[in-house]
Subunit: 187 residues, 2 copies
DNA sequence: GTCTATAGTGGGATAGAC
DNA sequence: GTCTATCCCACTATAGAC
């Protein structure tokens, strides 16, 4: 299983695209080779002429998701007055608009050996820049990730207003940023 | 499917206990009625004399996990000089020592109708007290939840030192707490 | 409380023809 | 590039005997 997004035949690309749609409509359990074939109007065994197995297909889906995330975050910081706030909003929007893809992307260790080189770094770069150092970037990522997952898993009490909670975290980390840059500069 | 932890026969309790162990050893996919029976030295159909179905069993597992979490957090705050720091440490310890149970507890909406009354509130109370208001409690919870999940999913870069990231978040929210209590008091 | 037998469903994947 | 036929696996759950 070599790098996945590269050297994908056009037909394979269509299959990955259909798989993403199916995943989003039906969730991870609904993503089966049989249903995917059905969505494409073919039989399941035909898929194996274009994709070696289901695991490879999932890696390809994850790769497209990371590409999209990187693009969304890049667009969000561009010329933003408050990069941290802009990034968290974009991150939340990304995740809530494709919750099942987001889960697939974060549920498991990244299949780094099978991802295009530099992709993970590209997706992480905007936040790393806004946060100033890896430690703060990780803390802020964790906050956003936790908010998003608790939101899509509907684990907060029903009716909880989450806007203020997001704002609370953003404010806390912004203040922390100025305080810690006074103290230690960048890491 | 009525409230689950109450009115469990002794044999049913043993089954739930074995299920928790199996879950932790094998992960959520390894928790099947067949394997559970095997662990107990019986056949799968025999389980159904004691437990109505698998969904009920999962709810019972979640309930025991919430009980344990509530107890761990209560113990952590008791007499702690820095309740917020103590709580995050206890939360992390809880989750990392039973990652699959933790996932099961947070993956999906809480089955509130089938949980003992007040259990969710009991588990949430220590953080709510330490945070001062629900909004901040939610933000801090999200931070801890995100850290824990990224940690157990091994999504951080390999070798990343996560102690500083935890500290960063704790510090940020502690500072935020004093600032916002000056401004608005409790919610 | 446990068993055997079994129903019913659905999954990933391969062989080989067209 | 797609098909049919098929294998083999695993799962939840029920019926009914002991």
């Amino acid at each position: 299983m070599p790098n996945v997004t590269e050297r994908l035949t056009p037909r394979a690309r269509e299959i990955v695209e259909a798989a993403r749609e199916l995943l989003e409509q039906e969730g991870a359990e609904g993503l089966t080779m049989r249903r995917l074939a059905e969505q494409l109007g073919i039989r399941a065994p035909s898929l194996y002429k274009h994709v070696p197995d289901k695991a490879t297909l999932e890696v390809a889906i994850i790769a497209t998701g990371l590409e999209d995330l990187a693009a969304a975050l890049d667009a969000a910081v561009e010329g933003a007055a408050e990069p941290l706030a802009a990034l968290t909003v974009a991150y939340r929007t990304f995740a809530l608009s494709r919750p099942h893809l987001y889960r697939l992307m974060t549920d498991r260790p990244l299949p780094r050996e099978h991802l295009p080189a530099g992709l993970e770094d590209r997706a992480a770069a905007p936040l790393l820049r806004a946060a100033g150092n890896p430690t703060r970037a990780r803390a802020i990522w964790a906050f956003a990730h936790g908010m998003v997952l608790l939101e899509v898993s509907r684990r907060f009490p029903p009716g909880a207003d989450l806007g203020p909670a997001w704002q609370e975290g953003i404010t806390a980390f912004q203040a922390d940023a100025s305080r810690s840059s006074r103290k230690v500069g960048t890491e």
